[in-house]
């Protein structure tokens, strides 16, 4: 009983310390746990597989640097798969940081897949306006909306020229923390039938499952696990799979604490009744 009372009054900092330990240990010594395969990841993979060489995809990393642990591996794995398929990529930015992520990811992987800037991919600057910006994509000519790229050069002569209307966009791939995937679904999928897929931080997945179930969202990578699953599927090894061990152990720690907490709670309640 004394243990349970001690546990119930446990300083939260001890719990935090244990979380740090469970995160660090597997990063130092990987355990090699299996990652599994979710249905939503498989559907996202199949969506990209259906694209043909020369098709155009919007790559939209709509997150802040805070969530790079989950969203950046998703961006990398999608970008690499798109490049493998020969799909032309237009990097758009609904957040100021997004253009930096596009620049970082596309510049890194373009030489590997023989992609040439302008012809095969382009990085566009941040556009303010949030959902209004997405609405604009469907109503304002794309080249008029984006006369210059992230580097300040004209977009004339680049892949942007080939987006005459919204129907020239074959797929939108949005990685997010926030609402941007819902904007794309509402404004482009619901209005013009554009195919939308992407990845979300794990916490956003339950809310987005509604759109997946209705068929408006063609697959979804859920957090780091989704990225790890995709890395295995697309045979593009990256950082996500190695981070999964740390995530698994910290989940187990929380489950363990919740269980012990409940045993302590029930024991205390029984003692009080007696």
């Amino acid at each position: 009983m004394r243990f349970f009372i001690w546990f119930e009054n446990l300083d939260r900092r001890i719990l935090y310390l244990l979380v740090v330990a469970t995160l660090f240990y597997p990063l130092m010594r990987p355990l090699g746990l299996p990652v599994g395969l979710s249905e939503t990841t498989q559907v996202a993979y199949d969506t990209i597989e259906r694209l043909q060489p020369g098709d155009i995809a919007l790559l939209s990393p709509s997150y802040t640097p805070g969530t790079i642990a989950e969203n950046l591996p998703q961006t990398v794995v999608f970008a690499r798969h798109l490049m493998k398929r020969g799909v032309r990529i237009v990097g758009v930015a609904t957040r100021p940081d997004a253009a930096m992520f596009n620049d970082q990811v596309l510049k890194t992987w373009a030489p590997v897949y023989g992609y040439e800037y302008g012809r095969d991919y382009v990085v566009l600057p941040f556009m303010a306006g949030d959902e209004s910006y997405i609405i604009s994509m469907g109503r304002v000519p794309f080249s008029e909306l984006h006369p210059v790229d992230f580097y300040g050069n004209s977009t004339v002569g680049t892949v942007v020229d080939d987006i005459k209307t919204v129907y020239d966009i074959d797929c939108v791939v949005d990685m997010l923390t926030g609402d941007s995937l819902t904007w794309y679904i509402r404004q482009l999928n619901a209005s013009f039938g554009t195919v939308v897929t992407g990845g979300s931080t794990a916490v956003g997945v339950p809310g987005l499952m509604v759109y997946y179930a209705s068929g408006q969202l063609s697959g979804l990578l859920g957090g780091l696990k989704g990225a790890a699953e995709y890395e295995v599927l697309a045979n593009t090894p990256g950082t996500a799979a190695s981070g999964m061990d740390a995530q698994s152990l910290s989940h187990l720690l929380i489950v363990f604490f919740v269980l012990i907490g409940n045993v302590a709670y029930l024991a205390r309640r029984k003692a009080a009744e007696q």
Partner: protein, 208 residues
Amino acid sequence: MFHKEQIPILISLTAGAIMIFDFFVKQATIANMASQALKWNIIIAAFATALGGANLLRIHSRRISRRTARWHLSVLLVASMVIYAAVGVTQGPQGVNYQFLWQNLFSPLSATMFSLNAFFIASAAVRAFRIRTIQAAILMVCAFAVMIGNTGVGVALWDGFPKSGQWVMNIVNVAGMRGIVIGAALGAMGISLRVILGLERGHLSGVE
């Protein structure tokens, strides 16, 4: 009162009507007006950033000049803001120094803030998941199914763990979420219509 209430209402009504018409009908003039309105929105949002910066400068300059409590933090804030803005304006976000600041200062600081969630989720879960009622017990069982199903250990132990986790997410979660989403969407529609028609005045000060 006129300029504080009637003009904003008139602008909302005009812009709202244009966007609604443009959503339903194919008409070149309306489409052009909607496209202009959207561009204006993007431009105004961009200019508002400067407004926000001015507000920050006003508050913190006053704190520094009055030497209020923790005024040295205000000095740090103003200095960081001025340096970051100066580098951004002169070099653009693709500049070497801007990229350096973004990658080595801003990104790690943001990631640190976000990573606090790992600890807070742990402490919140331990506090919140107590089997006080039958509903709380169901909640905990669902949480277990999803969490264990998302771990490598769960996958390794039994393939039923990930399957049950996915079942909870695909069926139970979606059913509940749809109810909330439909209710919230109708609420959002109601409030949006009230704003467009000038019936919603919570955002208008109502005073001179």
